[in-house]
Each structure stands twice: as C-alpha cells, then as structure tokens.
Amino acid sequence: MAELDFERRLERLFAEPPAYADDEAFAARIERRLDRGWTARRLLIGSAGVVGGVIGASQMFASNLPHRMAAAQGSARALSSGLTQTEPAQWMSTLPSGGVVVWIAIGAAIVLIGFVLTRVIEEI
C-alpha cells in the first residue's frame, strides 16, 4: 500500500511541470518554425503544381496534337453522320464533339495532374 502511495506521489511530482523563465520564448521559437515550414510547403506545393501542369500541357502539344485534333474532327464527323441514321438519346445530343472535346480533355488532364501532384506532396 505504501509502495502504491509512493508511486502515485511520484506520478504527481512528475506531472507538476517546472516553470522555466524562457517558456514564452520556447513557444515562440516553435511557432516560428511551424510558420516557416508552412510557407515553404505552400511554395513547394504551388510550384510543383504549376510545373506539373506545364509539363502535362507541353507533353500534350508535343504529341502531334494538331494532327490528332484533325483526326478527332474527322472521327467526330463520321460518328455524327452515322448517328444521324440512328435514334440518339436526348442527352447524347447535348455532348460537345470534335476539337472542343480535345480541349476539355487537355484542361481536365492539367487539373488532374496538378491535383495528383498536390496530394502526393501533401502525403509526403
């Protein structure tokens, strides 16, 4: 029993925090470190997202995009001429076709790459 009492007392003594004269300075130092780290992280994430987006866009343009767009327009024309012979559903008629689709895909890809990079860096 006395042993248990002493152990409880010891736990209480350990739990009593000593007061140091520079407690406030210690906390301020850590806050500064946190702020610095946060700013650096935001810069890193932002720049990585921009770089990723630029690389993604340049890759798309480098992969013979005008030719692909022309091919896509041809395909779209062939598709729409085929579709005229069928009974399209209502929602299908509202879909964009041809070059518009390519530009939407490019935009979506850039946003997706930026998002993925941002997430990956945040996880790291």
Binding site: D23, E24, F26, I30
Partner: protein, 191 residues
C-alpha cells in the same frame, strides 16, 4: 505566468486546440506548446538531458506532434502524448549517437555526503540515481510508458527494467522530502 503572452486561444480546451491544429491552425498549436512546453522540457531534463539538448528534443517532439496531430485521438491527455513522443525521440537520439549503451552500463552517480542526508526534491533525487535507473523511472512515471514499452524502447530485458525501476524507487523513497515540503512544488527554475 507573469509577462506571458495571452493568445486568443487561451480559453480553449486542449482538445479544441488539437482540432484546430488539425486544420493547420498554427496559433492554436502554439497555445498547446505554451501550456505544455515546460512539462516536456522538464521531462527531458529529468531523463538526464542537458538543458540545451532537452530543449532541442522537446522542440523536435512538438514539431513531430504537429505533423502527426491528426493521429491524436484524445484517448489520453495531449501532454502525455507529446511526452511519449519526446521520450522516444530522446532515446532514439541517444542510440543514434551511441550514448545509450554507456548510460545503461554507467555506475551510480556519487551522491554528495550532505545531499545523501538531507531531504530533496524530485529533480535532485533523480540525480542520485544511476543513469539507467533515472531513465527507467522517468520513462515509466514521467512519460507514462509501461515497463514493457520502456524495455522495448531501451532495448533491455523486461526483468532488467523492472529491477532498475524498483531500485530507483527505493532510492527516491528514502531521499524525497515528505509531502508538503517538496522544494519542487511552486519552484521556478532557470531556463
């Protein structure tokens, strides 16, 4: 504390501050550091770290705690959680710098004759223990580790840790001032 800056989070509970810190609110975390910084720094010194090293490890522990704040589920107190992080960081540092093994094998500190006769506070009492006894007692009673966790952290057999704790407690029991006379209570130490 006189002269201490009061933040807009001063009235918030620790758990509320943790919830805000999860969203990236650094000022809320700063309030947690203000509240529990001395407890973590004190534990490091009680484990045997010099003042500068104790502050370094405590700082690293708080930064690590901020990074992992989403993992804190509020099952214990925030202070206890950070103390455990700090204790493990300190042991890891000792191991990395190959200072742990010499500590474990070091003989008991020589206690000055007058100190052995008078009643002393916890910090002075801990100095009378051998380094490994001091580590074991501080880990179990200060950082809240179980004997098993302390054994794992120190890479020592469980029975050895239990023996060190038992011997450390015996020494402290004979030397600590009775309740109410502890010099630790309300004392102010230099940073």
């Amino acid at each position: 504390m006189p002269g201490a800056r009061t933040s807009r989070f001063a009235q918030h509970h620790d758990l509320e501050l943790c919830a805000q810190a999860v969203t990236g609110e650094r000022a809320a975390f700063g309030e947690l550091v203000r509240r529990h910084g001395s407890a973590v720094r004190g534990l490091m010194r009680r484990m045997g770290a010099e003042a500068a090293e104790a502050d370094d490890v405590a700082q690293d522990a708080f930064l690590a705690a901020f990074e992992r704040i989403a993992e804190f589920r509020g099952e214990g107190t925030f202070a206890a959680w950070v103390k455990r992080i700090a204790a493990r960081l300190y042991l890891r540092r000792l191991q990395r710098e190959r200072r742990l093994a010499p500590l474990v094998e070091a003989p008991e500190a020589a206690v000055a004759a007058d100190a052995a006769d008078r009643l002393i506070d916890l910090d002075d009492g801990l100095k009378a223990l051998s380094p490994v006894e001091r580590l074991c007692v501080s880990l179990c009673f200060g950082a809240g580790l179980s004997h098993g966790e302390a054994a794992e952290a120190l890479n020592l057999p469980l029975g050895t840790v239990k023996s060190h704790v038992k011997r450390g407690l015996e020494k402290l029991r004979t030397r600590l001032a009775p309740v109410g006379r502890s010099a630790l209570q309300g004392s102010r130490r230099d940073g």
